[in-house]
């Protein structure tokens, strides 16, 4: 069975909610839409206080090419355009909408019927995806249409769908595959048409045998889509790792991107969003979110409107346990601790994980014993101990030479470190600093 070649770790899977069907969560009383829900320029609000919006009304316009518009997920009145503490932990501009009723914008097909015929040209599909505000649903939130327009000189040869879901605890993609397999396959063929490629792969880790079986059966009608079962290993869901695992090509160091070796990688949730955007005329304002944790009485998967506060999901999953010490947006490996439970669900919120005191406590940092476990674990072939030390010493020139920009911040090094060193904290610091230096240098040229 295929997997990526170097590094990787095996964290406990803890897929507590894998057997729970997707439930539709009720409407919130007030929905909050941060204006920067994606990588790139923040969107600009086009509504003001008192405006009446419907479900699917565009409330913020894309702020540039690498950006995406934002749509209201509820109907009601705009309360204010203010700030909210989002998943980053800082106050960011956001639109508040008071919910009244549930009135949808015309032109959105709300039926569950499967639509498979599409007469649009590739350019029209890309335009539709762009106008629907679809971004990568895996967590990085890179605008989908940008990936479909490869930079000059690069030619896409295949679309790889990331259905790996290698993060422990999360099951949103898994459930989506079990419940909407046909829609996903149509979404994949739309992505292939838009990218003008002939071949599509769906990479699934073999801890989801039911999804592999179901999609393999359904994909018989799609001769050019291949289901690729993959050996379980974290971080297989990383773009570069997935390209390595599925088509055995290695993406060079940045600024190279997967399309430099001919692959366009999209999340399985994105494929579903593309299907809804193109075939149903429905912009991106809903997503499946996993709410999970060992102390939680009922870990579940919810189809959630964007802008819903996380507290509502936690309440629907059995209420906030008393011993909660950390609320994490996303999975335990790459997720970020949140400031409070009022943080709204955004396009990239794949999960909410509650950790109790014991799980959340970070072990005390000990001196490095030079065991090089981090070097063996790094899926990018870097030397995490060295990068962390250089970052601590602020040796930015050397750390750039040691290829810090290749780090994908997967946390494998920190996970495997027997001395519990805060490797990723320091590497991330070094990476952001060097990134700033490189940008400044390029701006000078």
């Amino acid at each position: 069975m295929k997997t990526f070649k170097i590094g990787g770790v095996h964290p406990a899977e803890n897929k507590l909610s894998a057997g729970k069907a997707i439930e539709t969560l009720g409407l919130p009383k007030q929905a909050v839409f941060p204006l920067s829900q994606h990588i790139g320029a923040p969107a600009t609000a086009i509504v003001k206080k008192g405006d009446v919006v419907k479900v699917g009304t565009k409330i913020a316009e894309a702020g540039g090419f690498v950006s995406a518009p934002i749509f209201s997920s509820v109907s009601g009145k705009v309360n204010k355009v203010d700030t909210v503490i989002d998943a980053s932990g800082y106050r960011k501009p956001a639109i508040y909408i008071d919910v009244e009723g549930d009135e949808w914008e015309e032109g959105i097909d709300r039926s569950q019927d499967l639509v498979t015929t599409c007469n649009l040209t590739p350019e029209q599909i890309v335009a539709k995806i762009k106008d629907a505000g679809v971004v990568g649903m895996g967590g990085a939130c890179f605008p989908c249409h940008v990936k479909l327009c490869p930079p000059h000189g690069a030619k896409a040869e295949c679309v790889i769908i990331n259905a790996v879901e290698c993060e422990p605890y999360l099951t949103a993609d898994h459930r989506l595959m079990l419940e909407k397999p046909e829609q996903i396959l149509v979404g994949v063929s739309l992505l292939m048409k838009a990218a003008k490629v002939e071949k599509g792969y769906i990479g699934i880790e073999n801890n989801k045998p039911d999804a592999i079986r179901l999609l393999t059966e359904k994909s018989k009608d799609y001769s050019n889509i291949e289901i690729v079962p993959l050996k379980v290993k974290y971080p297989q869901g990383g773009e570069k790792q997935l390209v390595d695992a599925v088509i055995n090509r290695q993406v060079p160091a940045p600024p190279a991107i997967p399309v430099s070796v001919g692959a366009i990688v999209q999340n399985v949730g994105t494929a579903y969003a593309v299907y809804e955007a193109v075939m149903k005329g429905k912009p991106l304002f809903e997503r499946v979110v996993t709410v999970t944790g060992h102390s939680l009485s009922n870990p579940s998967n919810f189809l959630t409107r964007m802008g819903t506060p996380m507290r509502q999901l936690i309440d629907a999953a059995g209420g906030m346990p008393e011993d909660t010490a950390k609320i994490i947006g996303g999975g335990p490996m790459m997720g970020k601790a949140l400031m409070n439970a009022e943080v709204p669900i955004c396009k990239g919120s794949s999960g909410v994980l509650l950790m109790n005191d014991k799980e959340a406590r970070r072990a005390k940092e000990q001196p490095c014993i030079r065991c090089a476990k981090c070097v063996g674990a790094c899926p990018m072939g870097l030397e995490p101990f060295l990068l962390a030390t250089l970052s601590e010493l602020k040796d930015w020139e050397r750390i750039e030479k040691e290829d810090v920009m290749s780090c994908i911040e997967c946390g494998s090094c920190q996970f495997t470190c027997p001395s519990h060193r805060y490797l990723l904290d320091y590497i991330r610091y070094g990476k952001t600093t060097v990134g700033g230096i490189i940008r400044a240098r390029n701006a000078k040229k």
């Binding site: 800082y90 601790a337 400031m339 970070r362 940092e365 904290d425 991330r428």
Partner: protein
């Protein structure tokens, strides 16, 4: 005999040619370093802190000599050595020393444990730059001191220390040379270099929170809410309010301390002043009752 002679002559010839080449090179490619640079560098403190804005003491010495040739030493100051060193430098260069006011680092945050409640726990690497990149910090203030002590680590003169009681850094004004290392190290730009002032006296707005009044008011008991009262009472136009934050220009401030009294949140501090004499002539009962005009900033609720 013949062999020895050949060896002596050939070696001698090689030596002669090399000597000529070396002599020509030494004349042709000679670097004429101004002797004064070395002299100036000698009187500098050799801390190589970069506080003067040049790469180390040698760089500063070179810049001084250049400036002297251009006519004036204005703007050149070694913050570590201060006026005495600059006088020596001026003497070497045969110039007159330009008096520059000494400066000192000021930590503009008073978010102590009592003033600014802890709302969450930070358990990452103990480093301000990382804490700042990760999230808002242990309190809800996105602008205030993070308390991990990057400034303490940056100081080469042992002049800034963490106060364990308040969780804030404190500057030892005797030791501070205003080199600016802590200013650069602080990821939230809380520390500023300000003129020391007469007897070290100065008025400082101890807050850098740029949030709107209600938000700033909620997160900290002594935050600036940009109510503008200080700017109104100031007779010297020293106080400006920009981006929801008051700022006292040290050059214009005449130390009247009226703003300190006017500030409803005790954000403005008078530093190094003797304790106030208790006022006897004002009878509290005669004071007119404060009428709320609805804009009372301390009562703003969110």
């Amino acid at each position: 005999m013949n062999v020895i002679l050949i060896a002596v002559i050939s070696l001698g010839a090689i030596g002669l040619i090399s000597a000529i080449v070396l002599y020509v090179c030494s004349k042709k490619f000679a670097v004429h370093e101004d002797a004064r640079i070395a002299q100036v560098a000698e009187v500098l403190p050799q801390a190589n802190c970069g506080g003067c804005g040049y790469p180390g003491c040698a760089g500063f010495a070179g810049a001084c000599v250049k400036a002297a040739d251009a006519g004036s030493l204005e703007g050149k100051l070694c913050p570590v050595g201060g006026a005495p060193v600059m006088e020596e430098v001026a003497a070497i260069l045969g110039m007159e020393a330009v008096v520059t006011e000494p400066k000192v680092a000021v930590v503009r945050c008073n978010g102590t444990c009592e003033n600014r409640p802890r709302t969450n726990v930070y358990d990452g690497a103990w480093n301000c730059a990382i804490a700042n990149a990760t999230a808002i910090g242990e309190t809800s203030c996105a602008f205030g001191c993070l308390g991990c002590g990057d400034c303490v680590a940056a100081c080469q003169f042992d002049a800034i220390h963490m106060n364990p009681e308040t969780g804030l850094p404190e500057v030892d004004e005797e030791k501070c040379t205003a080199c600016g290392s802590c200013v650069k190290a602080c990821p939230r730009h809380i520390i500023e270099l300000q003129p020391k002032g007469k007897k070290g006296r100065r008025m400082v707005v101890m807050c850098v929170n740029k949030d709107k009044g209600p938000v700033a008011n909620k997160v900290c008991a002594v935050s600036c809410i940009a109510c503008g009262k200080c700017a109104k009472v100031c007779e010297f136009d020293a106080i400006t309010i920009e981006a929801n934050l008051a700022y006292i220009a040290p050059q214009k401030c005449r130390l009247c301390r009226k703003c300190e009294e006017a500030c409803p949140k005790n954000t403005i501090h008078a530093m190094n002043f003797p304790p106030r004499k208790p006022k006897v002539e004002v009878v509290p009962a005669e004071k007119p009752a404060r009428v709320s005009n609805g804009n009372e900033p301390t009562k703003v609720e969110q």
